[in-house]
C-alpha cells in the first residue's frame, strides 16, 4: 500500500548549485553588484532624486537604473562613471562597496585630543601603512 503521508523527495536546487565550481565566483560577482546597487540607491534617495531623473542625467533608461540598483546587471564602466558624477560619489561610498578603510577627517579638539582620538590615529596609521605597501 502506498504511503500517502510520505514527503515527496524534491532535491534542493540551491544545495546542488552550491556544489558547482562556478557558484562561488557567481556569488561574489552578485554580492558586489548588490553592494553597488544598494549604495547607488541610498545616495540617490538621500538626494531625493527619482530613478527617471538619474536616468535622464546619465542618458540611460529608468529600467537600467532599476536593474543596476537591484544588482541584476553588470554596469558598463562608462555608465558607472556617469552615475558617479551625477550622484557625486565620495571615497566613503567606494569604501563601503569595496570594503576598504576610508581616510578619516579630523581636527584639533582640545587638550585631550590625543587620548580621544587614539583609536582614530591607529586607524589612520594602519590605513597609511597599507597604502604605502600598495604603492611599493
Amino acid at each position: 500500500m502506498k504511503n500517502i503521508n510520505q514527503k515527496k523527495l524534491v532535491a534542493d536546487p540551491m544545495a546542488e548549485a552550491r556544489q558547482n565550481p562556478k557558484f562561488l565566483s557567481y556569488s561574489q560577482e552578485a554580492a558586489n553588484r548588490i553592494k553597488l546597487g544598494v549604495e547607488i540607491y541610498n545616495i540617490r534617495m538621500s538626494q531625493n532624486m527619482s530613478q527617471q531623473e538619474l536616468a535622464r542625467i546619465t542618458k540611460t533608461t529608468q529600467k537600467m537604473i532599476s536593474n543596476i540598483e537591484s544588482g541584476s546587471v553588470d554596469v558598463r564602466f562608462s555608465t558607472l562613471n556617469k552615475i558617479k558624477e551625477a550622484l557625486n560619489f565620495r571615497v566613503e561610498n567606494w569604501s563601503r562597496i569595496y570594503n576598504f578603510l576610508a581616510p578619516i577627517e579630523f581636527c584639533w579638539v582640545g587638550d585631550n585630543w590625543a587620548e580621544e582620538n587614539n583609536k582614530n590615529l591607529n586607524k589612520i596609521t594602519s590605513f597609511v601603512m597599507s597604502n604605502e605597501v600598495l604603492l611599493n
Partner: protein, 133 residues
Amino acid sequence: MEVVYYFNNDLNFCPVKKYLELKGVSQDKKIRILAEIDQKICYVRQNEGRPTPPISEPLRNYSFFEINTRKDKNIVIRVLYFRYRNQIVLLNAFEKSDSYNTARARKTIEKHYDLTNSYYNQFKINPKNYEKY
C-alpha cells in the same frame, strides 16, 4: 536568523524549492541565477529579514515581502518571504513579465499573491511546516 522553505502539505513539496529547479534554463544560467538569489537572501538575512529596498520590498495589502531577480531581459523572478520569530520563511516564487499591462496578466499576478497569502496563513497555523534552506 534561519532561512527556511515553507512546506505545503497538500502539494507535498516546498513551492520555492520546486520553482528553483528552473526547468528549461541552461545549467550555467541556472547557477548564475541561483547564486544571485542566494546572495539576495543573505543580504535580507543580514538585515534581520526586514524589507530593505532596493533588494527586498514590502507588498501593499500583504504581510510578506518580495525579492526580485532578473531571469531574462523581460522576465523577473519574485521570491516571496516573511519573518516568523527568528525565521525567514520562503513562501512562494514565480516569474512575471516586465510589462503586465493587460488585465489578464495582472489577474495572474494577483492569483500568485493570493496563493502565497494562503501559504502564509497555513504556515501560521502550523509553523512546523518547513524544510531547511
